[in-house]
Symmetry: C2
């Protein structure tokens, strides 16, 4: 399948674009292995003690996030929609395991796109797709850009530390 | 990919199972061609003047249903999730084009499963997957079994009439 980037709707979508000095395959592996996700997916000092991944279209995932004091901040579930190893992951918070609809305060679909940069690194793009401008504004004000940016730094650190 | 039927959750899912005397390929074609859908998808005397289908994972669809008096009863949109020609279609009303979440009074995901019966006919199974028992009960009381059953009869009639 040829690569078609998600066409951004600036009124409804939030986008994070980065260049990272690790390969698309390494980034993809870090996003899809629960042991790895626990290491970098929460902006520190928050932590992810629980990560469950059923990596197939229709498979569910779950992450639990704790505050530094050990308080549960989030218990997030969702459903994988598209899986193209080393290149593209799509999942949504509007569905859970088996594509079952689930209620959500801020339903969004996420697209992760990874492209080789020709010299071993990766063009990294994450897009959060919302149902209305209010949802996008709420996600932005909750710190989408800072949060998703911080975890990319932590992801790279994790990969460089473990290589 | 081997065929794995949707595992039914009787408290959340509604199921229609039928045997029909037309092939899985013919049923699949009738479900995926807009001109065909317009012929059988609304229980008569209701009608479907508008049917739009973008048949790919993440592609949207839309149907508009009119009463016999010409009043618009429904304008339904959704998103295709899985497409296995002649065998399986999965779509959801919880998302629209490009996997974008959309508000819905009664969000459900639908699975259509088609299996050859060995003598030219088809084992036909449709499952509607809801987020809670209330959603399933609401869909049942709106006439899921009667409505989805009637349109299977109309689908077969359409295929036999056009063959």
């Amino acid at each position: 399948m040829s690569f078609t980037p998600h066409p951004l709707d600036p009124s409804l979508d939030l986008e994070l674009v980065r260049h990272v000095p690790v390969s698309p395959a390494a980034v993809y592996a870090a996003w899809t292995d629960p042991d790895s996700v626990r290491q970098w997916f929460a902006p520190r000092p928050y932590s992810i003690p629980v990560c469950e991944i059923d990596l197939r279209p229709g498979g569910g995932f779950r992450t639990v996030m704790l505050s530094p004091e050990g308080e549960q901040m989030m218990d997030s579930t969702g459903c994988y929609l598209e899986i193209v190893p080393d290149e593209r992951l799509v999942w949504t918070a509007a569905l859970t395991t088996g594509y079952r609809p689930q209620p959500s305060d801020m339903p969004f679909t996420a697209v992760l796109e990874l492209r080789p940069d020709g010299s071993g690194g990766c063009h990294y793009r994450a897009v959060a797709i919302h149902q209305d401008p209010e949802g996008a504004a709420q996600h932005a004000s909750m710190g989408f850009h800072e949060g998703w940016g911080t975890v990319v730094d932590q992801l790279v650190e994790h990969l460089q530390g473990s290589s």
